[in-house]
Symmetry: C2
Subunit: 432 residues, 2 copies
């Protein structure tokens, strides 16, 4: 029976005289003091194999071995297998174009992405996606526990609701459609349908030309929408609970992966401590940190606000709310601040370790008010035709989206968001 | 504090003298024997409200009420609320273009889809998507319990690996890319990377022009891929366990939804009893059922085979394996049947209640053998460039995909697959 690398120590303790089978990839070949070793890689980790003779095998070949398990403090996982027989299942060519077991801190990002089908074999790189899988699992489980229904909406849309720029065009039979930037309209419609609470994890597309360490042209959007809220503050509370649950699960299930990146997740208490400051306050604070020159919540301001929050509140998270209307989409609910003041909105961003990971807010659920707002955004009633369903009853509601790759990036401290996408798409990269 | 419709009976039993709040949509207005009723709809179901005066309200308006809960056998859920105060949160226009509370069996599919943002408010229609959410949840949970890692792969591909037809073209900056028909290549690469076991739930695209009750141009594909298998039989065993787990969860969590459609899920024993028959046997059986004239496993044969299986094995499920090579993609693993026999493959389909819900099989993991197969499919090495990574070690592996909408359709007995898609896309329909 096959055992996994992670179970070798237990097998060595419980039944050292029973031969076991292991299978996986030849991660490393070694000869030390005349003894031959293979470090075998399987889905659970690394396992040291000890061989009497030098094996005729190449790195990355897939092998199956049989042997006796034995404890060895110096071996990865604290155990090794003394190999009695070795079978090569798939022999790797000796001309490996990319060194899988190399220290990735010494390889440039371009080389890692150009050789993506091989670089994904690196255990440290795989760690990123084990964490990502747990993020998605925990996101979904937490929302289900609060009676949210998972939805799957179309990514092909007849027109763009958030303005026509930055959309990828699709040839759809004899017409043009677009790749959805977000499930915004659909999730609002489904809240209004009576499902009340919905979430979706799905690809989203932005045809932005810039190439930065924080943008992808295709990303995984973790979307939430909820009915019967009073303001964005209800959503901030929801996101705090959600992030605390995600961090908790990652801490439990990704211990080794976090170690590989020398990373840690915030504790739940520090998430609860996260302050909420208005856009106006945020500008003041960022300017105080930077000694002036901050006119917008730009990437530098995001970084400064998180530094401030870490210092003043001992938390990696800060929420900024009440963004001016001009910075938010047409469907954002206005905040009544009385006469004479600039119009702001019931909106928020979540900043985590220097990066905006969430944009959200309460939405305008009154169709008449939605129409009134359109000219300010250079939009017409026709362009938001679907929203006319709000004429037929719609509860106050709002929601937000968490960028899955951004959250992954910031949990692990990755320099570039592309590292957090299995097959990232940018202006030049559509392969593999 | 707000209570949900489903909790009204408990509130009436436990604290009949405590006023509670309820909120939701005006599903129906009634006057019976001089008493005024509103049937209120919230995310949990329907709740009868009893009012002293005729309320000034329209169907589909969103309201909040306060009142005392009382048991009433004749009310939906066995309880009602005697309303003390009613607040209209969002008044619906009186010109409702689609009757939400109508019996949907009396409304044509086109009318339902043309009015999708309103028809989704119908409780019976919502049931479909509550079942679908549980299908996705159970699919993911079962695979995670077997150590599968959830992946999110790109839906924008530089070229089509399954042949260039039936792909939607995307304008991607200054070049053309395509919408992925499946994550086939990516899931194979990730198995080969050492993750070994992966799954994905994501949109998939087919630019097929035909309009049938079993096809969508955009659908949710539930994909599985697994390393270290011997043949497609390992995959069939996996799918049996997976389907039994899905049916079990749907039975537990969707009792009311199943009732709404007068539907039931197969019991686990009947899933385990499902026979596996070869393509050749299947043709013979289908011809026996049809008294000749079946030359392929076409939709009629799928229906006949399920009838046969229901009669002979008392199960709604049947697996057909060993498809001839010409019917399967280039990457399918050949089945060695000795000299002189036609070449078949380690492939299978799952047929459920008359419909193919799964295609799968073992894949060719030997790059040399993969190249040899290409001319037979009119393909060149260049067109499968990414698969060259198999030169560097790849375990025997295979997988399958379950069409999420097809499984939903067949669990509930829906006449058309479009009913099982929130916002279905066909040749003419890209809105809403």
């Amino acid at each position: 029976m096959r055992i996994l690398a992670k179970d070798a120590a237990e097998a060595a303790r419980d039944a050292p005289d029973t031969e076991v089978e292991a299978a996986g990839w030849v991660h490393r070949l070694r000869n030390m003091g005349g003894v031959n070793f293979i470090i075998l890689r399987d889905r659970s980790g690394l396992l040291q194999l000890v061989l009497d003779e030098k094996p005729d095998i190449t790195p990355e070949s897939v092998i199956r071995v049989r042997g006796l398990p034995a404890l060895n403090e110096k071996a990865p996982g604290g155990a090794e297998l003394r190999v009695a027989s070795l079978e090569c299942i798939s022999r790797a060519g000796g001309d490996l174009p990319y060194q899988v077991n190399a220290d990735i801190s010494r390889i440039g990002l371009e080389a890692i992405l150009d050789n993506r089908t091989l670089s994904l074999r690196n255990p440290k790189i795989q760690s990123i996606f084990r964490v990502q899988a747990v993020i998605i699992e925990a996101f979904s489980a937490y929302l289900r526990s609060l009676d949210f229904t998972e939805i799957k909406t179309s990514k092909l849309i007849g027109s763009g609701t958030e303005g026509g720029t930055e959309l990828f065009e699709v040839e759809y039979f004899d017409r043009k459609v677009y790749l959805a930037q977000s499930p915004q309209f659909y999730k609002q419609v489904l809240v209004a349908s009576g499902l009340e609470r919905v979430f979706e994890v799905a690809p989203a597309y932005r045809a932005e030309k810039h190439d930065t360490p924080r943008h992808l042209n295709e990303y995984v959007s973790m979307d939430v929408e909820m009915g019967f809220i009073d303001s964005e503050k209800d959503l901030i509370e929801l996101e705090k609970g959600l992030l605390a649950a995600i961090f908790d699960e990652v801490k439990k299930k990704n211990r080794r992966d976090l170690e590989a990146w020398n990373a840690s997740v915030p504790d739940p208490e520090s998430v609860r401590r996260a302050p909420t400051i208005s856009y106006a306050e945020a500008l003041k604070i960022a300017n105080g940190e930077a000694r002036g020159k901050i006119f917008d919540i730009n990437p530098e301001a995001e970084r400064l606000l998180c530094e401030w929050s870490a210092r003043e509140y001992r938390t990696d998270l800060v929420f900024v709310n009440e963004f001016p209307r001009r910075y938010r989409p047409f469907y954002t609910y206005p905040l009544d601040q009385g006469e004479g003041k600039p119009v702001s909105t019931m909106s928020f961003d979540a900043l985590f370790r220097g990066l905006e990971i969430t944009t959200g807010g309460r939405r305008q659920h009154d169709y008449g008010a939605l129409l009134e707002a359109l000219p300010r955004f250079g939009m017409t009633e026709e362009s938001i035709a679907g929203y006319a369903v709000f004429k037929y009853g719609c509860p106050p509601h709002g929601g937000f989206a968490i960028g899955c790759e951004r959250l992954t990036q910031k949990i692990l401290g990755l320099a570039n968001i592309k590292e957090a996408s299995l097959f990232p798409r940018d202006r030049r990269r559509v392969e593999p």
